[in-house]
């Protein structure tokens, strides 16, 4: 079957590489292993291991979550010109931007999951099966837009890579509507994250009308910045010799 071949082909590409590539994978694997061991320790002992306490009950996890939401939202900056104006030169970059968005959203969700006191009850967040407190809770909005944005980008980028894999032209009528939907989603993931903070009368220092636009602008800086760094590295490592 074609999809199965696509999957296997992707895995094959993923496993192919030089010494440098494998050592990089090993390094990342080691990082993940340390993280997993730390998380097991936290599961066992409780969140007391994080040294967060009642007065400051949100820390590094939520800080990272906020940053990565910005990175994820930034993908849309590249996506808009690529697909709406059908501007070819930026298209490959847009795919990288979307891949980055998907991985950033996954990391966001993992950070939030790691911050939960009872990860075994995360299913309570699923509408119908659980009891999502929508629209009252802004965190419920965040759950919806983050998962929605992640799913949209995943579908778009998988479809794009799939068409490249089978060497076909992608169908614009399928991609463009999804991209159009993903634009408000990209804006909303970061504004909603800002509203999560400044919707709290209890925290006057967070009560700033400028917080949401500020988050957006900083997202539009940090996201492309990461993409630029990434592209420089890709250019150094993967481009044909004459183009380096």
């Amino acid at each position: 079957m074609l999809y199965w071949r696509f999957f296997l082909g992707s895995v094959r590409i993923w496993l192919k590489g030089g010494k440098g590539y494998y050592s990089w994978l090993a390094f990342l694997g080691a990082c993940i292993l340390i993280g997993v061991l730390g998380y097991i320790e936290q599961l066992h002992g409780g969140l007391i291991r994080t040294h967060m306490r009642d007065p400051v009950s949100w820390g590094f996890y939520i800080g990272n979550f906020t940053f990565l939401v910005g990175v994820a939202a930034a993908a849309v900056v590249l996506v808009i010109p690529a697909y709406i104006y059908n501007w070819k030169p930026i298209k490959e970059i847009a795919i990288i931007g979307e891949l980055l968005a998907v991985s950033a959203v996954v990391m966001c969700l993992l950070f939030v999951a790691a911050d939960l006191g009872r990860p075994d009850r995360a299913w309570h967040l699923i509408p119908i099966i659980g009891h999502l407190n929508f629209p009252s809770s802004l965190l419920a909005w965040d759950v919806l837009v983050l998962n929605g944005y992640g799913a949209l980008n995943f579908v778009i980028v998988t479809y794009m890579i799939y068409t490249a894999f089978v060497r076909k032209e992608y169908s614009k009528s399928f991609v463009t509507p999804l991209i159009l939907i993903s634009i408000p989603f990209a804006v909303s993931i970061h504004t909603v994250t800002a509203f999560v903070y400044n919707g709290l009368p209890a925290r006057p220092f967070w009560n700033s009308a400028i917080l949401a636009p500020r988050f957006l602008t900083s997202a539009f800086c940090s996201g492309p910045a990461i993409i630029l760094v990434l592209l420089q590295l890709l250019k150094k490592l993967h481009a044909p010799r004459d183009q380096r």
């Binding site: 009950s57 809770s137 759950v143």
Partner: protein
């Protein structure tokens, strides 16, 4: 309820019923799927994992849940537990009044509360925080000290302000909870379902009074200090990773008793009663004394009144 069953259901009701059956179907499918994964677990673990939101449990389910919890607690702490679920009384809205001109800051209430409500001893969780403030500065939270520890209180030039859950009429913690694990009961008490809370701590960020506390690790209570008379929404022992808070001693006040902090206060600074009863202490205080509420400007509308009884 009985009367409702006799009448013909309206379109809205019918739609709701359909939604409910759809819900139930979806739920049972998912539960069946997940059940396979958890088949190897003990029945008690499985049951507590799949326990539904308290408001969606039938009376029968509730009874079974309470019995299961009582047994679990008995196994862990020893002794015979009662896990009650007394509902709110009609025509009752609980309110609290605290006399700032009387309080001497002795912290008797803090520890009476810890004992009554089975708060974790290690790490220590206190639902009541007593703040020491300077008389010259007035009620100024930025100059408050919760860690004062002199030989004797009250200290000259200082007054004391115990802060606990203010039982807001517009509770921010309830609004922000993403899973609806905390809500306001008809008698005005804001409660937490410790079996539904996912431990995201958004409510702690949203509470202007620092009244919510998190079980950062497994709560430890010596077996001989446990209070066996518990309420599902109140003082039953908590789990690691969930949020808890003052419930006006729901297990006591729903049976007509005063909260533990009121009974222990050596200077009688703490007043409690039904806001809807014109004869109650709190009504007298509001009508006759100088009263204020904490952080009035954020419009949480607490039912916890500070007053000067002088």
């Amino acid at each position: 309820m009985k009367e409702q069953a006799l009448t013909i259901p309206t379109e809205k009701e019918r739609r709701r019923n359909r939604a409910l059956t759809r819900r139930r179907f979806l739920r049972s499918t998912v539960v069946a799927a997940a059940g396979g994964v958890l088949a190897s677990c003990s029945p008690s673990v499985r049951e507590s994992f799949f326990q539904q939101h308290l408001k969606e449990l039938t009376e029968e389910d509730k009874k079974r849940t309470y019995a299961r919890l009582a047994e679990e607690y008995g196994n862990r702490y020893g002794g015979k537990f009662t896990v009650g679920g007394e509902p709110a009384k009609e025509g009752v809205l609980f309110a609290y009044a605290l006399d700032l001109s009387r309080c001497v800051g002795c912290r008797r209430c803090v520890y009476a509360c810890v004992k009554e409500n089975n708060q974790s001893r290690d790490p220590a969780i206190h639902w009541i925080t007593v703040l020491q403030m300077e008389k010259e500065k007035g009620v100024d939270l930025s100059h408050a000290d919760a860690y004062y520890n002199p030989k004797a209180v009250p200290e000259d030039g200082h007054f004391y302000m115990p802060v606990q859950c203010q039982q807001c009429r517009r509770p921010q913690c309830v609004e922000v909870c993403p899973v609806g694990a905390t809500w306001q009961e008809p008698d005005g008490i804001v409660v937490v379902d410790y079996n539904w809370c996912i431990g995201c701590r958004y409510c702690m960020a949203a509470c202007p009074y620092g009244a919510r506390h998190f079980n950062w690790s497994r709560p430890e209570i010596p077996n001989e200090q446990i209070n066996h008379d518990t309420h599902y929404l109140g003082n039953r022992p908590r789990y690691k990773g969930v949020v808890e808070k003052c419930t006006f001693c729901i297990q006591r006040v729903r049976k007509g008793k005063y909260p533990a902090c009121v009974e222990i206060c050596p200077v009688g600074a703490r007043k409690f009663g039904n806001l809807l009863d014109p004869e109650s202490e709190v009504r007298y205080v509001i009508e006759n004394k100088r009263v204020f509420i904490l952080k009035e400007e954020i419009n949480t509308q607490p039912k916890f009144y500070y007053f000067y009884g002088v």
